[in-house]
Structure formats: C-alpha cells, structure tokens
C-alpha cells in the first residue's frame, strides 16, 4: 500500500509545478499591484514606481518566479504585504474556519443525502422518489447566496436564534463558535445534500441491478438487508468520490458564503488577496489549495482500496 501511495504522491509534483507557473503568471499579468494598493487611491505615479522598486516588483518575470519558487521549496511562502504575518501563518489562521465549516456542511449533507438517496433508489418511481428528484433539482439550481440571505433573515433577524455573521473559534468558545457556523453550514449543506443525494441514488440503483444482488435474493436474503448490507458497500465507491469532490470544492469554493456570513475562511483570504493584489498570499493560497485538492484525490484513491478488495489486493500482488 505504501508503494502505491508514494507512486501517486510522486505524480503530483509535475502538477504542482504547472499550477505554480500558471498562478504566478496570472498574478504577474493582473493590472494593479500591491504598491499601488499600499499607497492608496490618490498616490502619484512616481511614488508608486519607487515603492515597486523597493518591493522588487520591477524585476523581470523569471527572476521573481524563481525567487518565489525556491523559497517555497524551503517552506518559506513569503510574507503578506498587508496582513503583517507570513503567508503560511495567514493560511493556517484562515484555513481553520473553512475546514470547520466544510466538515459541518458535509456531515449535514450526508445525514440528509445517504438515507434519502438510498430510499429513493429502493422505491424507484414512487412519489417519494419523484419528491426527492424535485428537491435535488431545486437544491442544485437555487443560487446559493439567495438561500443564505433567506436563512439569515428568517433565523437571525426574525427569530434571533442565531447571529447574523461573524466567527468564533469553536475550540476556544464552543457554544458561540457553533452558533456562528450553523447558518452557513445549513445554506451550503442544502446544495451539497442535493448533489450527493443524486449520486447516492444513481450508484445504489446501478448496484441493485447487478447479478450478485439477484443471486443473494435467490438465496432468501430480504430486501432491506440486500439494500443496506449487500448494495450500499458496493455503491460506496462513487459516493466516496463525490464526498471527496464536495470537500475539495467546499474548501476552496465557499467564498460566497464566507463573504455573506463574514467568516474569515481561505476563500475570502484569496478573494481579498486578489482585490489587494497581495501576490505572496495569492500564490501561496492557490498552491496550498492545489495540495489540498490533490491530497483529497489521493485520500479518495486510498479509501477505494479499503472498500474494494480488488484494488487493495491486486496491488499487493496477493493473487
């Protein structure tokens, strides 16, 4: 299993390199620069150029790229121009809220989608199935921030149960911490629940059609056991992929929810970095997100091994 992991990890390096070149050139080409943002709206061109020189922004493209990439290899992603902390520190600080939100959202989504999807597959074509199909369609298509606003107005403004926005670290302040994360998790979770339900239903349906389920039925195994014991584990493979995907997209994509609920997550850190042209943060965060994405893919692969003996045993040449 180790050799398999190492081999897969090795394949990630070229991808990281490609990503680093893409994102560095994007940052380099973006009009505006940190010097101009530092000096503010009415700075004069001559002041901006002086500051650019002292920041090394006027060096040629490749010089800046290699200076950055060499430091990155040694673990030093540089310091932010605005957050007076190192990029690594900024990422650490901002990744925690996003991680907590992502975990909460996925749990909420799974709690809804696994049973819903499985039962919809079990009673295929029934009113329940059509109802679930309707819910998933709406869930997929409804613009996320409209849903967030409705939830905020309903639960915070009207019922005063939950705060409108903000973030407290649940580890240090559990009660308030959780209260801040419930609404964002609900608004994001509903969309991911819809998506995962569709996957669960599709893969369970597919497994129920297979011959080994028929074979088990012919030996007197009842329908519920067929569904949850025999079918669900086989159906697990595509579901795990989908959960991996959802997590990856949550980590980098909850930026809309983060801005509405004012959660200092990695998404908003990146959007602010783009706005302020904070190059070190921009490059550092994207590189970090790429590692998270590739890491998650690897994790999903390994989970495949856990669930599907053919993957696990064929690699170790057990035959």
């Amino acid at each position: 299993m180790l050799s398999y992991t190492l081999r897969r990890a090795g394949a990630l390096l070229p991808v990281l390199l490609v990503v680093s070149v893409i994102i560095f050139s994007l940052a380099y080409l973006t009009p505006g620069d940190p010097a101009r943002t530092t000096l503010g709206p009415e700075a004069l061109e001559v002041d901006v150029q002086n500051l650019r020189d002292s920041m090394g922004l006027n060096d040629p493209f490749w010089v800046q790229y290699f200076r950055w990439i060499l430091n990155a290899i040694h673990g030093d992603l540089g310091t932010s121009y605005f957050l007076n902390m190192s990029v690594a520190e900024a990422i650490g600080q901002h990744f925690l809220p996003t991680l907590q939100l992502a975990v909460l959202t996925i749990l909420y989504a799974l709690v809804i989608s696994i049973p819903l999807g499985t039962l919809a597959a079990r009673w295929r074509g029934s009113i329940f199935d059509r109802g679930v199909a309707g819910f998933t369609l709406i869930g997929l298509t409804f613009p996320s921030f409209v849903l967030s606003l409705i939830l905020v107005i309903a639960f915070s403004v009207w019922l005063h149960w939950l705060p409108v926005a903000g973030y407290r670290n649940p580890f240090s302040d559990p009660w308030n911490g959780m209260r801040y994360l419930i609404l964002p998790a609900l608004s994001l979770g509903t969309i991911y629940a819809a998506v995962i339900t569709r996957t669960v239903r599709a893969s369970v349906l597919d497994v129920l059609k297979s011959e080994y389920v028929d074979a088990a039925r012919s030996r007197g195994v009842n329908e519920t056991r067929l569904l949850f014991a025999h079918a669900l584990r086989n159906a697990g493979l595509p579901i795990i992929t989908m959960i991996g995907l959802s997590f990856a997209s949550l980590v980098s994509g909850a930026v809309v929810a983060e801005s509405i609920f004012n959660i200092p997550g990695i998404g908003s850190l990146l959007v602010n970095a783009i706005e302020r042209r904070d190059y070190p943060v921009l490059q550092g965060v994207v590189l970090f997100l790429t590692c998270v994405y590739l890491g998650l893919n690897l994790l999903v692969d390994l989970l495949y091994g856990l669930i599907d003996p053919r993957v696990r045993l064929s690699d170790a040449g057990a035959k």
Binding site: D33, T37, P41, E42, I153, V157, H160, V164, A165, N262
Partner: protein
Amino acid sequence: MIHIKHVRGPLAATILSVISLAFAGPTASAESDALVVANGSQPPSLDPHVSTATTTNILARNIFETLLTLDANMQIQPGLAESWNVSEDGRTYRFTLRPGVKFHNGRALTPQDVIASLERWEAYSQPGKNIFQGATWTAEGENTVALQLPVPRFNALQTLAPLFAQSAVIMPAEIVAAAGDKPVTEIVGTGPFRLVDWQADRMMELERYDKYTSFGGKQSGTAGNRTPAFDKLRVEFVPDESTRTLGLSTGEYDLVNPVAFDNISEIQANESLKLGSFPGVLLNVGFNYGKPGIFHDIRARRAVSVGVERQSILAAAAVDPKFFRLNNHLMLLAQKQWAPNVGETEFNPADAGKAKELLKEAGYDGSELTLITSRDFAEMYNSAIVIQQQLQGLGLNVKVESYDWSTFVKVRADKNAWDLIIMAAVPKADPTQLIFLNKDLPGGAQDAGLEKILTKFRNAKTTEEAQKLYGDLDAWNQEYIPSVRIGEVDYPFAMSKRVEGLQVQYEPIPWTVRLTD
C-alpha cells in the same frame, strides 16, 4: 456639523412581505462596556504617513495623535502641543509639548519622536510634500520643537491638525526609523485607545489606554478631553453591506459605517436605530488631458457641463436627497472657511439643446469615447451608468468600462485607455490639494493660469489672503472647467439607540460615545 436625524418613513410595500424586516428590539450585544463598530472597508495599513487611504487615517486617529486638533467648528485647538507661537515673518513656529504624555509602550514622548515622525511625514505624505517642502524641524530643550518654513504658509498649522487623509501623526522615533518607506508594522501611539489585536480582514481590538494624558478643556470635535467613556472598542471588518445592516438590527453591531444607500429606508423605519452621515466625496466627471481628443476644446467641456442633469445622477448615486446636494464650488459647502461667492452654487442648467450646439461648434465627429469608473464604490459605479445614458442623449458615443479599484487606478495611469473618468475626490483642508487641480495626476489639466494662482495660493501668508485667492481659483475652475462638478455625496452611517453623544469629524469619532444600556 452633527447630523443626527430621527426621521420616520413609510415602510416600503414589498411583494414578499414575509421577508419584510419587522425588527424586534436588539438583543444585548456580547459585552456591555464595548463599542462594536462594523466597518465596510479594510485599511491597507495603519500608517497615515505612507497610505493616502481615508480608512487608514480614520482608524489610526484612535491610536496616534497630532500636534494640534480641530474643535466642532473646525477651529485649531491644542493637541500634543500644549501651546505654540509664530514669528513675525510667519516662517518660524515653536511648539511646547504637553508634559507627561506617554506612548502605549510606556515610553515618554520626546521632541526627537516628533521630529522623526514629521520628517517622515514630510517625505512620504501628499500634504507633507505639498505644503512642508524644505521645512526643517529642530528640538529646543526638553519640551519644545521649532519648525522653520522656507516661505510663510497660511495653512501650516491647519495641516498639522487632523486631516481627511494622511494626518501628521506622532510615532516613536525608533519605529519610524525602522519602517522607512514601507508601512509601520509596530503600532504604538499616544492616543486614547491602545491596539490590542489586529487580525486583518477580520477585526481590530482596541482598549482604553489607562495612562492616557488627555488634552485640556471640554471635548469638542477631535479637541478637548478625549478620554473614552467605555473600556473596549472592537472594529469588525464586514465587507457585505446587507450583512452590516442585518447585524445592526439584531444588535450584534452598535455602529455601522457606511450603510448602503438602499438600506436607509428600512433603518429609518426602525425606532430603535439612529441614522447619521458625514461628507463623503466630491463627485466630478474628469477629462483626459494626456490624450489628444475633443475635450481639449473648452466648448466640448462646457457642452458636458451644461448638458448633464445633475439631480438624477446624484439620485442614482445616493438615493436619498438628504445625502447629496448640488455644489458647483471647489470646496464642500460645509467647509465654511472657504466662502462660495463665485458663480451659482446650484448650477444645473441641463440644457441639451445648447450642449448639442456647442458639440457641433467643437466639431465632435461621433468617435467612441470611453468613460472609466470603479465598481468598488457604489456612488462612482451608479453615477457612471446614468452619466453614460445622458451623454449618449447629447449625441456623445460613450461606453462605460468599470473595474475593480486596483485595475481602475492602473487603467487611469495609461493615458490612451480612457477619455472620461468619474472622479470621487476626498475633501481636503485647502483647495490646492484637490486632485481636480493636480497636474501630476494622470490626465490632469495643464494650464499656466492655474499654476500661477496655485503658487500664489501656496505662498499666501494669512488665511484672509488665501480666501481671496480661493475666489480667483473658483472663478478659474468655472471658466476653464478642468472637470465637471456633479455634486457632493455624503456617506450615511447608523447606530443603535445604546450609542449616545456621538460626534463626527470627517467620520464618526469613537471616543465621543457614551454607552447606555
């Protein structure tokens, strides 16, 4: 100039009445003796010497202090300088420092700190470079600092008082030396609040400075006794405007600055909330003098000035008539010291026919003109849309390009990229610093007449002399029309009823607040 309005407005009828905001009373905010402010914009740094951003300056004034201050009527009052005197030739000023003032790190304030700070301020800030060129500072004894000006300046004292942007704040000498041209990272000042924690993009936590030495006299504007009546000041950076308004209504925030124009009506509808405003920006349509084109001809510029209908532009920009007004003069109407005695204040002919004639005379050939604006500021983006429509009504083939702020500033520097520009200028202490008259700004007007008046202005010895010159400057502006003034736009802010006694100078002053629960 305190705007505390308490106006009731009819609740807007809405289709989804279920969503209408029937506010219940605000719940108790987290801590009772803390003022929680929801700030819309983020400061790029807390160093007014280097950054021209108003947010930096306004947040920094809670921590750093200036030699002089301004009372409610914008008159100069003592600050860190307890007293001062001026030589006959008006070129030498001696300031006696207030005794016993300590920095937040406990170190006593010394003349060396003042000199190091103000020399850096002279080197890097706009007001410093414009007005204090060639000025020198020398320490005299334990508590006196002497300023030597190469030529007498009427506005020397005024520039050492708090400004809209880049105030001349005093920091410890060693910190200033270490920072150089980059923003200071160690934030130590003498002000009423001490910085406890600053997590950029999230929040800033300040605490009342126990060993604060207040200025003499009753509190008024930024002058007088500035000791805060509450312990903690927490500034939360909340970029999303609807979140700010909703947070105010649930009591999570005590003060929200700024409030979106479209949310004003529902704030007015709620008895438990109060509304206020402060002078925001001077809105102009600028021309690109760096690029050959139709607007080099005065007739084309006059056509635009005559043709546009300013009221509807301002209505699109600021919605509620309380927050905008016509003002064809250079300086804000509220800046009483600059009397608006030239030309018509409410200048808004909106005469499309005359405008078309002028354009024909100027020989406009129908070529496409680009109007650039930024979508990061609602008043710039909204007014651009309306102006484009009106100019097309006058026969000008105008297309709008709106950018995020950083790109906007870069595009402005490229003189071939645009013809017209929306200028939302921050008000200044004196007219010479207004960006409309600044020839160095990309696309700025280059006119000998203007430069003559400006140099005379800068060397004016007394305020009276400066006020007379302001008349000439205002007349030149209405004659030459370097840019078309649309009007003034105020920025509204809102607070819950637990906030009492708030005063405004440029923006709300936190330490003037008394919290009542």
